[in-house]
C-alpha cells in the first residue's frame, strides 16, 4: 500500500468492473456508508442472535444438545467480533459498540414488524422475536442458519476484500450451525409426540425469516450492484432459501 499517482481510473469504474477494495483508505464516502451499514447489520444480528440463543443452552434436553447450543452461542460472538474488528478500522469505537445496546432485548412473541428495522440497532428483524423453549430454538436455528448461509454465500463476492474474506471463514461455521440444528430436529421428532409443536414453530419462524430478506428497491440494488456490494436480488436469495428449507422440511415430513 502506498500513495500512488500512477492511476487515474475512477473508483466507480473500477468497482463496476469487479475491482476489489482492500482498506478503509481506498473507499469513497458513499461506499463507506454502505459497507459500514452492511457490517453493522451483520454484527448486530450475530450479537442479538447469540444473546437470544444463550438462554436455550439450559433448555437443551441432554449434554450433547447443550454443547451444540453453547457452541452456536459462542461462535456467533466470534463472528461478530471478526467483523467488528473491520468496522473498527473504519473508525468505530469497538468497545462501546458492543456495550451500547442490550442485545438480549426482544419484542413480545405475537408482534409483527414485517421487514422493517426496529429500535436503535441494525439487527435483522427476525432477531427481535423471542425464542420459546428448546424445540423453538432448534427450529429457529435450522431456518435462520440456512438463511444466513444463503446471505453469506451472496456476500463472498463483495467488493470489500477484508469483509469477503471474513465471510469466507464464517460461512462454513454458519452452515454447521444449521446442520447441528437439523440433527437436533431429527432427534426431537424421534423423541415422541413433538410433531405438532415443531410444525407450530416452523409456522411462526418461516414467514418472519422470509421477511428478513427484505425487498430492496431496484434503484438501491442497482446502486449497490455498481459498487460491487450486491450481486443477486433479494427475491432470488429468498427463493433459494425457500427451496432449501422446503427440501429439508419435506425430508422430515414437516411440509
Amino acid at each position: 500500500m502506498s500513495e500512488s499517482t500512477e492511476t487515474k481510473m475512477p473508483l466507480d469504474n473500477y468497482l463496476a468492473q469487479g475491482g476489489k477494495l482492500t482498506s478503509p483508505e481506498n473507499v469513497t464516502p458513499r461506499y463507506r456508508g454502505h459497507i459500514m451499514r452492511m457490517m453493522a447489520s451483520f454484527i448486530d444480528s450475530q450479537l442479538a442472535g447469540s444473546a437470544g440463543f444463550a438462554d436455550s443452552v439450559n433448555t437443551g434436553p441432554g449434554v450433547k444438545e447443550r454443547i451444540a447450543a453453547s457452541r452456536i452461542t459462542l461462535e456467533k460472538l466470534v463472528h461478530a467480533e471478526q467483523v467488528l474488528m473491520l468496522l473498527g478500522q473504519f473508525g468505530a469505537n469497538t468497545e462501546r459498540y458492543f456495550s451500547h445496546h442490550p442485545w438480549t432485548a426482544r419484542l413480545p412473541r405475537d408482534s409483527d414488524i414485517g421487514n422493517s428495522r426496529h429500535g436503535q440497532d441494525m439487527r435483522l428483524n427476525v432477531f427481535h422475536y423471542p425464542i420459546q423453549g428448546w424445540i423453538d430454538a432448534v427450529v429457529m436455528n435450522v431456518l435462520m442458519g440456512k438463511a444466513v448461509s444463503v446471505q453469506l454465500d451472496e456476500n463472498l463476492k463483495i467488493s470489500y476484500q477484508p469483509l469477503a474474506e471474513a465471510y469466507r471463514e464464517i460461512l462454513p461455521r454458519e452452515r454447521r450451525h444449521a446442520e447441528l440444528g437439523l440433527e437436533g430436529l431429527v432427534k426431537i421428532l424421534a423423541s415422541g409426540n413433538t410433531r405438532h409443536e415443531v410444525q407450530q414453530s416452523v409456522a411462526y419462524w418461516r414467514p418472519r425469516i422470509a421477511a428478513s430478506f427484505g425487498s430492496s428497491s431496484s434503484e438501491r440494488f442497482e446502486q449497490l450492484q455498481r459498487l460491487g456490494l450486491r450481486n443477486t436480488p433479494n427475491e432470488q436469495l429468498q427463493a433459494a432459501w425457500e427451496k432449501d428449507v422446503s427440501v429439508s422440511l419435506s425430508e422430515l415430513k414437516l411440509d
Binding site: M1, S2, E3, S4, T5, E6, T7, M9, L11, N13, Y14, Q17, G18, G19, K20, L21, T22, S23, E25, N26, V27, T28, P29, R30, R32, G33, H34, M36, R37, M39, A40, S41, D44, L87, G88, Q89, F90, G91, A92, N93, T94, E95, R96, Y97, H100, H101, Q120, D121, M122, L156, K157, Q161, P162, E165, R168, R220, Q223
Partner: protein, 358 residues
C-alpha cells in the same frame, strides 16, 4: 478505534532515486502490537502545518526477519511521501497504528504450493514481504514474480530480489517488465495488460500449476490481471488483491464556519448532500438530529448505531454550526476538519450545509 503508538526510526535507507526504506522499532512493551503478518501495512499520522495527515505504507520485511520496515516511494505532490524521502531522519519517532490488512494466505511449511505475484512500482512492498516469508517458511514452495516498472533505475528492491533468487536457488523467478525501455525480448517491455498476461501464460508461466496469485498495483492493472487469471482457470479464492490507495485525498480544507448570530429561531435550514444530490430541509433546532431530518426527508443517509459509536453516519459540515451531543468514534483530527456524527448533531445556526460526500 484507531490506536496510535510511537515507533522509533532506526534506519532510513535510500532504495531508488525516489524511494526510501524506513526501519522502525516499537517502544518497549509495544513489540507484540507490531508483530505483523506478511503483506500487512502500517498507517502513519503526522502533522503538516497544524493539520493531521494519515498515510498507509506496506511492510516490506519478511515475517521472520525480526525487523519492521516499510518502503515509501515519493509521489509528486505527496506531502507525506516527500517528507519521508527528504526529511525523515534516524532517531526520530513517528506514530503508527498496529499492522492491518489481509493480503496474505496462511503459511503451511508441509505443502508444496506454486505462487504467482504481479506487482507494479511500489506495489512490490507487500509482495516482497510475502515472497521473503514464503521462501523461508514454506521450503517446498516455488514463486514467480511478474514485476512492472517504468525503467530499470526505478525498480525497488532489485538487488534484494536478486539475492533472494541466489539464496533460494531455483525457487524464485522474477520477470521484469519495463515500460519505457526496449529489451532484447519484446515480452519484457511495455505494460502488464491482457495481451502481456496471455503471452506470459503461453510461454513463461504454467498457469495451470498456480495455486495462489497475489496482485498489487493500480486499479486498471489489478482488473486486467485478475480477469486474465480467471480466464485462465483461477477462481476468486485463489486471487488476493492489495489496492494502491490512489483515492487517498490530499489535505482536506478546514471547515468554513459562518458566525451567524444565535437568535431564538427554532428552525434551521439544512442543506444536505448525499451521493451528489442536494436537498434543502427546514428542521427543528431542538429535538431532531441532522440524520433524522435527512431520513425524514427520504434521503438515503448512511447510519448504523445511532449512538455515536460506529461513525457510519459521518458527514462534513461545510457551513454553519452544529452541536455534537456525543462522540465516541470520531477523532480530534476528523472533528477539526469539520466531520460530525450526524446521529448526534443538532444545528446551532439558522443555516447549515452538510455533505455526506466528503
Amino acid at each position: 478505534m484507531a490506536r496510535f503508538l510511537s515507533l522509533h526510526v532506526s534506519d532510513v535507507r535510500r532504495e531508488t532515486r525516489d524511494a526510501v526504506v524506513v526501519t522502525l522499532t516499537p517502544q518497549v512493551g509495544d513489540e507484540e502490537a507490531f508483530d505483523f503478518i506478511q503483506g500487512q501495512y502500517l498507517t502513519f499520522r503526522r502533522n503538516f502545518d497544524g493539520e493531521e495527515l494519515r498515510r498507509s505504507y506496506s511492510i516490506c520485511a519478511g515475517r521472520d526477519e525480526g525487523a519492521l520496515r516499510v518502503g515509501i516511494k515519493r509521489v509528486d505532490g505527496g506531502c507525506f511521501s516527500t517528507w519521508a524521502n527528504e526529511d525523515l531522519k534516524i532517531g526520530e519517532t513517528i506514530d503508527a497504528m498496529p499492522p492491518m490488512g489481509s493480503f496474505h494466505t496462511p503459511v503451511d511449511p508441509h505443502i508444496a504450493r506454486n505462487y504467482l505475484f504481479f506487482a507494479v512500482g511500489s506495489g512490490i512492498t507487500p509482495v516482497l514481504s510475502i515472497v521473503k516469508t514464503l521462501l523461508s517458511a514454506e521450503p517446498n514452495a516455488t514463486l514467480t514474480l511478474v514485476y512492472g516498472n517504468r525503467s530499470s533505475n526505478s525498480i525497488m528492491f532489485r538487488e534484494e530480489l536478486d539475492d533472494l533468487k541466489n539464496v533460494y536457488m531455483g525457487r524464485l523467478s522474477v520477470v521484469h517488465i519495463l515500460g519505457s525501455e526496449a529489451q532484447d525480448i519484446d515480452l519484457f517491455s511495455g505494460r502488464i495488460d491482457a495481451e502481456k498476461c496471455r503471452l506470459l501464460f503461453k510461454s513463461w508461466i504454467d498457469i495451470s500449476s498456480v495455486d495462489q496469485a497475489f496482485i498489487c498495483g493500480p486499479e486498471a492493472m489489478m482488473l486486467t490481471v485478475a480477469q486474465s487469471l480467471r480466464d485462465h482457470g483461477l477462481i476468486d479464492e485463489q486471487i488476493k488483491f492489495e489496492l494502491f490507495a490512489s483515492s487517498q485525498s490530499g489535505r482536506a480544507s478546514r471547515k468554513v464556519v459562518s458566525k451567524t448570530n444565535e437568535g431564538a429561531n427554532a428552525i434551521c435550514t439544512a442543506t444536505i448532500t448525499i451521493d451528489g444530490t442536494t436537498q434543502q430541509i427546514d428542521m427543528a433546532k431542538r429535538g431532531e438530529t441532522v440524520l433524522d431530518a435527512a431520513l425524514a426527508a427520504n434521503m438515503d443517509a448512511p447510519y448504523a448505531c445511532k449512538a455515536g459509536v460506529c461513525s457510519t453516519c459521518r458527514a462534513m459540515v461545510l457551513e454553519g454550526e452544529v452541536e455534537m451531543e456525543k462522540n465516541h468514534s470520531l477523532e480530534d483530527y476528523e472533528v477539526n476538519r469539520g466531520y460530525v456524527l450526524t446521529c448526534q448533531c443538532y444545528p446551532l445556526s439558522d443555516k447549515v450545509v452538510v455533505s455526506y460526500d466528503q
